[in-house]
Symmetry: C2
Subunit: 346 residues, 2 copies
């Protein structure tokens, strides 16, 4: 009943209901799965845009510019800032959040930082679920911004319709190390802080690397050393020979000055149109739903094992044997799993 | 049979057997749990030392110095370098590895880098299991070095007998942000790169913070601005009033010059003696074995769900319903878990 009232208020765009629903889902509080199940048929209108990249690439500044551009278009925008890093870097990232204040007071903008969730669900799952709440609440663009450490930059590709990798000119030194995973997963590359030397060189390197990977020769590109490229992507993003193929464009921006932002907005729009026209959107969203279901199954299994079947008590009862080496954690675990299967039989 | 031969060769100190066993365990290859179960009764002789801290704190250099010091004592030392970070920083950390070359050719030293493991087991679990192999193979000191991002610095405390947090003078600016989790978990603090300004200030701040936390007034400490403290810890590490309490010492080193290393070795020894005398060692190891068993149970449950019961097929069969919103991932997951429990009944 409470859920029905909350859902109705959320769908009606009530701010207090949104804050409450996000909080329930973020913290995995009682009833959050029921709430998400109720919202599920309402999902799919929002475009989910993931921004990732190394610390210091200017993701927050770029996000702020994108938010402003979407607001000019009259769209409601949510920003979910995911911080998977430790207390070691917590301070610096908090600084980024504060800098987004130019848009923070706009009632058409919602900003949420996420750091951790309890043991039964990971941060990536919680982020996806918070995005569902925002989607149901009618936000037309959801920008998920995450610093690229650990698994997080690959996680973001699994929750976004479009993933943009944000780099800086200095990233060129490490471009060889970038190649595993994230290059393949990004739909869009942005070389930000292009007022520093090397932006155009990195753009060309990225384009060449992307063309090589797709088996195409790179067209000769005139060098504009240090010149700012803020126009539309120089290569056609959709392959003329095969429109089902998306060729990730490489854009150059100086987000702090607002340079190149329109081209990013255009490329995001082009990618969306391609997603819809090629059938890739439906395919990606199906894949994501299957992954989500897998996560929920695993969470339910953990709940069964530890909260309902109290497998911890079985561990405690035999821990002496494990301690002195009479049995091993592996044998004990096998016995527990066998007992769980037995127990289900009763 | 193969396992028996491998185990025998491993226990006999054969280098090829060690490499093979580590590889089997690191990659979770067929038979690795049986191998670990066989080794389990042989574990416990090694002291496991965890080093964590922010990127750039000089952990690898400190590790190299500690390895050298232990080698002088005639001890066999293994180093497990855990890199939970993304391709973004892969290059820099690889550089650290290469720098450890002064000890890499010593046959009494074993160095292994770990980055990822497949979906059925996480990096932290794999690291603990590789440490088991090294323990069984007779290494007397196992140093687990991990950069403090994400969960990794808390993970290391769960696999080490002694955890040292390595900081640099500049870390003082973020000391407030350090307080959640890792400060409480560290047994030992090292302010490295003490030839930079601020080392002594950070040491005093840390001591004060630790004393406040334990409810003790900090004794006035004379300021030695910029002076290098390479002697033994200035505060008694074991509380005179209550010898079951360990007071984490704060040491100051310049690992690149070898300054302060002996004091770290002494503090590690003191902590080990305290662990044994206070009963904390047995307690920590019991807790770790219980945690390990929990991880193995979860892994076995995942194997059951996805590999034996083929729950993926149930997801695929109903994905259309989820896609169009007729059902939600939560309802589908609940049905799958119910079916699994049913299926166990057959």
């Amino acid at each position: 009943m409470l859920d029905d009232a909350l859902t109705a208020a959320l769908l009606a765009g009530k701010v207090a209901a949104l804050a409450r629903a996000v909080s329930i889902v973020e913290n995995g509080r009682s009833g959050y799965e029921e709430l998400l199940a109720t919202l599920h048929p309402r999902l799919g209108r929002a475009r989910r845009i993931g921004l990732t990249g190394p610390p210091g690439a200017g993701k927050s500044t770029l996000t702020e510019r994108l938010v402003t551009a979407y607001r000019v278009q009259g769209l409601r925008v949510a920003v979910v800032a995911v911080d998977p890093t430790s207390p070691f870097t917590g301070g610096a990232l908090l600084g980024d959040r504060i800098r987004m204040e130019s848009v923070a007071l706009d009632p058409g903008v919602y900003i949420r930082s996420m750091a951790t969730r309890g043991s039964l669900g990971g941060l990536a799952t919680a982020t996806r679920e918070v995005c569902d709440v925002l989607d149901a609440a009618g936000f037309e663009r959801i920008i998920v911004e995450t610093v690229g450490v650990g698994q997080s930059e690959l996680d973001v590709t699994r929750m976004a319709d479009t993933t943009a990798l944000i780099l800086v000119p200095e990233s060129g030194d490490g471009i060889q190390t970038l190649k595993s995973g994230i290059i393949e997963a990004a739909d869009l590359f942005v070389v930000n802080k292009a007022d520093r030397p090397g932006a155009d060189k990195l753009r060309r390197e990225l384009e060449m690397s992307l063309d090589l990977r797709s088996g195409r020769m790179s067209r000769p590109v005139p060098a504009h050393h240090g010149a700012l490229r803020s126009g539309p992507p120089k290569r056609p993003a959709v392959d003329v020979a095969d429109p089902t193929v998306w060729r990730p464009p490489v854009l150059v921006t100086t987000a702090s000055k607002g340079d190149g932002i329109e081209a990013v907005i255009d490329a995001l729009e082009a990618h969306w149109l391609w997603l819809v026209a090629s059938g890739a959107l439906e395919q990606r969203r199906r894949t994501r739903l299957a992954e989500r279901t897998r996560e929920v199954v695993e969470r339910a299994m953990r709940r069964w094992v530890w909260q309902e079947a109290h497998a911890d008590e079985m561990i405690t009862a035999r821990l002496d044997d494990v301690s002195v080496g009479r049995t091993s954690p592996y044998e004990l675990a096998a016995d527990i799993v066998a007992a769980l299967k037995e127990g289900a039989r009763v």
